[in-house]
């Protein structure tokens, strides 16, 4: 079954994947994520200083900046880990400012962490199966009562199937029965991305997904990201590595000292005086 499943397979893929169905209403809203005047203060320090930007649907956007530029804090404010001091975050037109992290994730905006955070004493497969939304078996009664259990089992089979498929897609299915804590750093990053996908996100926020990953695995991860973007996922990636972002993102947002320095194509950003200043000349 190696021959042409290209278009047909892609078509079925689109319809089967719930997240892609969200891609159908592209026309409603070009920018699913809208950040307006986002501000976060920690005491006297302003970590994010009135940051505003839009992320377009189906795009791969990089968010770069020197250490302490406020990238991760911006991430945390968007995903509900931090409460922003001021400003608003809208996702698909809905105000999500100040929602709890699980509420943000539930709306299809899912993040990964800077340091891969696997659920160590759970197997890779268990890690994956935690993720899907709307599991009936997450209700205690349904899990325990015999007559309700059958529906749980049925859904578990579906989830299991999807988990295997996703593990295969990321080529870590041979590790399915391993404890996640036994994985290498790069495999953990793969697992984290795979796990995030199982929540049926529309948009993924990846916090330094390539940090500490060897070049081979980095290429693999990048391939996956590009594949997924073609399937309709939207990406916002925080990254230190300027070159990597410049080569792979169609749009780059540069932050410096909590502020958005510039926002444009890699070409524009590369030639921006302020960026050069911030990265090469300025105080880091």
């Amino acid at each position: 079954m190696s021959e042409p499943e290209s278009s047909a397979a892609d078509a079925t893929d689109e319809t089967e994947r719930p997240s892609a169905s969200a891609g159908d209403d592209v026309e409603t809203d070009a920018a699913p994520l809208q950040v307006r005047d986002l501000r976060k203060e920690f005491g006297a320090i302003t970590a994010v200083d009135d940051a505003s930007f839009d992320i377009e649907r189906g795009s791969l956007t990089g968010l770069i900046g020197p250490n302490g530029a406020g990238k991760s804090t911006t991430f945390n404010c968007i995903t509900g880990v931090h409460q922003p001091t001021a400003g608003s975050v809208r996702f698909n037109g809905e105000e999500i400012t100040g929602l709890a992290p699980h509420q943000v994730a539930d709306r299809g905006l899912v993040r990964t962490f800077q340091i891969a955070r696997e659920l160590g004493q759970m197997t890779v497969l268990e890690n994956m199966m935690v993720a899907p939304k709307g599991q009936v078996g997450e209700s205690l009664w349904r899990s325990v009562l015999p007559f309700a259990r059958r529906a749980v089992d049925r859904q578990e089979e579906e989830i299991l199937e999807r988990a295997w498929e996703t593990l295969e897609f990321f080529e870590i299915d041979h590790l399915a029965d391993e404890y996640a804590s036994n994985l290498s750093g790069g495999q953990r990053k793969l697992l984290e991305l795979a796990r995030a996908l199982l929540t049926d996100p529309e948009m993924l926020l990846l916090d330094e997904p390539f940090a500490g990953v060897n070049p081979t695995l980095e290429d693999r991860l990048l391939d996956h990201v590009h594949d997924l973007r073609e399937q309709g996922y939207t990406f916002l990636i925080v990254e230190h590595d300027m070159d990597l972002i410049m080569q792979n993102c169609e749009r780059v947002i540069v932050m410096h000292q909590g502020r958005i320095l510039t926002d444009g194509t890699p070409e524009e950003v590369k030639n921006d005086e302020d960026v050069i200043e911030a990265y090469l000349g300025g105080e880091v």
Binding site: M1, S2, E5, A8, A9, D10, T12, D13, E16, R17, T79, V81, A100, P101, H102, A105, V110, R111, F113, R117, E118, L119, G120, Q121, M122, L125, E126, M129, V130, A131, K133, Q135, G137, E138, L140, S143, V144, R149, V152, D153, Q155, E156, E157, L160, E161, R162, E165, T166, E168, F169, D173, A176, D177, Y179, R195, L197, T199, D227, L228, Q231
Partner: protein
């Protein structure tokens, strides 16, 4: 296009038929091995006790009583460890206030089910609401669960160590409340009820096992037109009578103890089944996720606070039930029974067995009960009887006096005589040894997969090694 045709079939055959048989095999295998392990352990423990009893030439009555006691402690600590395992082993909630929930359970049961003040022949200081014991047990469990909720709401937002402080403080608050004169006796709506203060309360409700047998008897009574058929005819008429043939005189207390302990063992089986089911489900999976990394689980869209509260409340209600079953059959309770020591007994049991494993919890409870809790005293009994009940030195000085001269017998006798006091030292040493050498417990770090179905590959693995899967993402294999 070939994909469209073949994938549903592939799912059918690959996903259901073999998966189901695999499921049965996997489940049976696991269950068998666990059940066999538990059974072997229990039989081994009983064998040790019986051999010990035969060595000292225990009269049958004494031996049966010892075995009944042993069964009781195994069940109690097994249940306690199972309930704690839900908190600590699954959810990572550090509850060191277990005894407070137990006390709440048994005291509330007492209030609900004690006979009304002044009725009957009861000499109790305070009365109760006079409701059936089953109502009392349910209300007691609910009360323990609610207390857990009260503790959980503010504390679960904090980090684990703060929950620990809150729970141990709460258990002491419960104990001091029970001790308080202010709530020891009062009249509410015509009922004279109260917590009894330092004197405790007399649990003058029906014996739990008697109430249980009588309740079971209801359908028989309906058919046969008798009253308490199972209790009068079967329990007293057959069981106690038969025991009377070998245990005399007065076999009933012995049978009562043994029967109650056996009943608790069955309840422990219920705990095990319930918690195993809870653990092997998407619910249990989220709990494990919280234990491993709450932020990550939250970021995956799970309302972790809600899960933590549910887990905590259910565990607390079960702890309340353990308290009811442990102390409810004792005739009376006093507040100072409920010291933190009991909490730590249960922690030791769980640590021995291995947090995170339900089977391990039961094993830990059994080993703790048999070898650390009742074991030393039984050992003392055996040795003393073998030695013909020698007189032990009265003081440490007297015990040491002869050691210099090479005579260690008085010292050993003194040690043996003090075994009850040394018990806690032994427990401490065992705990330290475990922490150093086997912190994960006897069964810890075992892969008990949190899923309601076995997690084997849904389709035949032969088809998986082609690269096509990787290129087209998540579509079903053909």
């Amino acid at each position: 296009m070939t994909d469209d045709e073949s994938s549903p079939e592939g799912e059918e055959t690959g996903g259901e038929g073999p998966a189901e048989s695999r499921q049965r095999r996997g489940f049976d295998a696991l269950f068998d091995s666990d059940a066999i392990m538990l059974l072997a352990l229990l039989l081994g423990i009983y064998a040790v006790y019986v051999v010990g009893g035969v060595v000292i030439g225990f009269p049958l009555r004494g031996l049966v009583n010892q075995l009944g006691q042993l069964t009781f402690w195994i069940a109690v600590f097994g249940m306690g460890a199972l309930a704690l395992n839900l908190h600590w082993g699954y959810t990572g909630l550090f509850n060191i206030g277990i005894v407070g929930f137990m006390a709440t359970g048994v005291y509330v049961t007492a209030i609900v089910s004690k006979p009304v003040f002044g009725s009957g022949t009861s000499a109790a200081e305070v009365g109760g609401l006079g409701l059936p014991l089953f109502v009392g047990i349910v209300v007691g469990m609910v009360a323990a669960g609610l207390l857990g909720l009260v503790a959980a709401l503010p504390a679960l937002r904090l980090r684990a160590d703060y929950l620990a402080i809150v729970t141990i403080a709460l258990s002491e608050i419960v104990r001091f409340t029970l001790l308080s004169d202010a709530v020891s006796k009062g009249t509410f709506g015509g009922y004279t009820i109260g917590l009894g203060g330092g004197d405790g309360v007399i649990l003058d409700f029906a014996d739990p096992h008697e109430a249980f047998v009588k309740a079971l008897s209801a359908p028989f009574d309906l058919i046969l037109g008798t009253e308490d058929y199972l209790w009068e005819e079967i329990y007293l008429g057959v069981l106690v009578d038969a025991a009377g043939a070998i245990i005399r005189p007065n076999p009933k207390p012995v049978v009562d103890n043994f029967f109650y302990a056996a009943l608790l063992l069955i309840v422990m089986g219920g705990f095990y089944a319930l918690l195993r089911r809870t653990g092997n489900s998407p619910f249990g999976r989220v709990l494990k996720g919280i234990r491993e990394d709450e932020d990550v689980t939250n970021a995956l869209g799970k309302d972790t606070n809600l899960f933590k509260i549910k887990s905590f409340v259910v565990g607390c209600a079960l702890m309340g039930l353990v308290g009811i079953l442990w102390f409810g059959a004792q005739g009376s309770v006093t507040p100072n029974t409920f010291r933190p020591r009991i909490t730590f007994y249960i922690w030791i049991a769980l640590i021995i067995g291995g947090a995170g494993s339900n089977t391990g919890s039961v094993i830990g409870g059994a080993i703790f009960a048999a070898f650390l809790f009742q074991g030393p005293l039984y050992f003392k009994n055996v040795v003393e009887t073998v030695l013909g009940n020698p007189e032990a030195p009265a003081s440490f000085g007297a015990a040491m006096a002869q050691v210099g001269a090479g005579d260690v017998v008085p010292f050993l006798l003194y040690t043996l005589d003090s075994l009850r006091q040394l018990q806690l030292v032994i427990m401490g040493l065992v705990l330290i040894w475990l922490m150093h050498n086997r912190p994960q417990g006897m069964l810890g770090h075992r892969k008990e997969i949190a899923s309601s179905i076995p997690l084997s590959r849904p389709s035949a693995p032969a088809e998986t090694d082609d690269g096509s899967v990787a290129t087209d993402g998540g579509d079903p294999r053909e």
